[in-house]
């Protein structure tokens, strides 16, 4: 187990290295640079800036310098935010993105699992039909469409919730909903299917033949087994949610890492782009690792080697 985790961490480092290289190359391949403005800067100024930030050096030297900085925990200086390091900027956005992401994810898991379980236990009842209908609808609406729809209904028409910004509980409801609806819908569908499957298993009949309370049969024997496939998709769903946050944060003008990322791209702020991409890659890789380890915790048949 420990060896497995160590090996996964080494893999994670390799993944991050590859991601950083690809992102770095793409950034430099894309036309335009950090000093492009509507009113062009004088060539001497651009040259001076390039020299100051080391952008006049050959590509691999730049990449090498970046990696050296990274090893020291230094992602460089942001070009668009005056005199602030990328690390500082990201650290400011991190709690916001984390709060939004975790709220949406927990809500998606709780709602998805309960909806899926309820649908399976009352198969072919109205609960089942409503649950299947909702999960089909939310699984097919992209996050940005949902975000705008929510905004139109709850902010513009009803004036119940603010259209964006960050700081109060009312400002987290719509973005979390827009972000979590899709994973919730997927989790509900998977939970429903696997619960229906597990309910038919012989060992559930065995559990009933012992005279156990229905509640115990449900939680100890059915839920535990039907959650195994749910855990496997929780990793990719978490990744979806993380990438979704880029769009949702931009739409709701939430000053999280997602919006910084988008701003960074528009400004060709190389340091900010690298920093946010690596952050996302790290989060997704960690999420998948946690899921793989959790998988073995709930299913004793999984052995790590």
């Amino acid at each position: 187990m420990t060896r497995y985790v160590i090996r996964r961490i080494l893999w994670l480092l390799l993944v991050l290295l590859v991601v950083s290289f690809i992102t770095f190359s793409l950034m430099h391949l894309v036309p335009g640079g950090p000093w492009d403005r509507e009113k062009q800067l004088a060539p001497q100024v651009v040259e001076a800036l390039n020299r100051k930030y080391g952008l006049d050096k050959p590509f691999f030297v730049q990449y090498g310098n970046f990696l050296i900085g990274l090893l020291h925990g230094d992602l460089g200086i942001s070009y668009s935010f005056q005199n602030r390091s990328v690390t500082q900027i990201l650290m400011q956005g991190l709690p916001i993105t984390a709060t939004l992401g975790i709220t949406a994810f927990i809500a998606a898991i709780l709602i998805g699992i309960s909806l899926g379980m309820a649908a399976a236990l009352k198969q072919n009842s109205w609960i089942d039909y409503v649950s299947v209908m909702f999960s089909t609808i939310f699984a097919s609406i992209p996050g940005f469409v949902l975000a705008i729809l929510l905004m139109v209904v709850f902010s513009v028409l009803l004036h119940w919730l603010p259209t964006g910004g960050w700081g109060s509980v009312s400002q987290i409801i719509m973005p979390a909903f827009a972000l979590g609806a899709l994973p919730a819908a997927f989790i509900a569908r998977i939970t429903r299917a696997s619960t229906l499957e597990v309910m038919r298993q012989d060992y559930v009949r065995t559990a009933r033949s012992k005279g156990l309370l229905e509640r115990v049969v449900l939680i100890r024997h059915i839920l535990r087994n039907s959650l195994i496939p749910v855990v496997t998709i929780a990793g990719p769903e978490f990744a979806n949610l993380v990438t979704g946050s880029v769009i949702v944060e931009t739409i709701f003008s939430i000053p999280g890492i997602g919006r910084l990322f988008v701003q960074g791209i528009f400004a060709r702020d190389y340091g900010l782009i690298m920093g946010s991409v690596l952050f996302y890659a790290f989060v997704i890789a960690i999420a998948n690792m946690v899921v793989d380890i959790l998988y073995g915790v709930i299913d004793p048949r999984i052995v790590y080697n």
């Binding site: 298993q201 012989d202 060992y203 009949r205 065995t206 559990a207 009933r208 033949s209 012992k210 005279g211 156990l212 309370l213 115990v216 100890r220 024997h221 535990r224 087994n225 195994i228 709930i298 299913d299 004793p300 048949r301």
Partner: protein, 333 residues
Amino acid sequence: MTALLEVRNLKTYFNTQDGVVKAVDGVSYDVNRGETIALVGESGCGKTVSALSILRLVAEPAGKIESGEILFEGTDLLKLSGDEMRKMRGAKISIIFQEPLTSLNPVLTIGRQISEGLEFHKNMSLKEGMQEATRLLKLVGIPHPERRIYDYPHQFSGGMRQRAMIAIAIACQPQLIIADEPTTVVDVTIQAQLLELIRNITKELNTALILITHNLGIVARYARRVFVMYAGNIIEHGNALDVYRYPCHPYTAGLLTSVPRLDEPRKTRLLPIDGQPPDLIAPPIGCSFQARCAYSMPQCQREKPPLLEVAPNHYAACWVSQKEQRPWQKKSS
């Protein structure tokens, strides 16, 4: 002395898209305290459904116990509330299923699966339950039970899993155990061991046993009385040895000639019973075995034969047999 269990005219039907399947259609039998009876028949004859009906574990909503009585120590199980029935399951009546590979929960330890019934019915703590589970595993012949209780089912072989199932079934010392083809999916060598184990344990605990099997060959050794089922009905019953030596229904005779016997010369050919069991959605009007029967008479097509005593304590539902002609007996007697 009243019987421990009396099943009277039990009817369990299944609603399917094609119609109502009469899986068990008016079955009656009884089990005395500490007695072993056998319920014999080929696949799909309703023996498992009739056993599941006793525990009221027939898969709902498709399956439904239509009518009848299941008297256990004088109380009709079919009239009990859900809670009262739960207190019966596992505590007074327990079951050993056919498929040890799928009948244990893959994510719980063996010990936990034995102990949970004890925790519920005997108010044991988890710790006491696990101690008892260790003792039970030892009783059913699992080596190193103190370590094995922490194993998961996939770490057990098929035979060991069935031993664990037996441990679960006997945990609360029930008065009745139903063993539903307990040895069908394990190796022949293990089969005999498991049957001996079940027999010894039921004898020791003075537990009654309903042994469900399709193998008439093993019945005489383990059961005192035997009930032969065909197409949802009991078509013959009596003392195991009588049924074995003098089958009074051609179906029973067919079952006997279709399994290898050690007491006959090896050259004897096994004779399968030709044809298929009847459609249980629309069973034939007369005798349900008539289409496959070599001895059928015109009466067999018109009227369903009742289950009558054809010899002392030996009952058969067969017009031919009731006329005291049993041409099929020549071979075995």
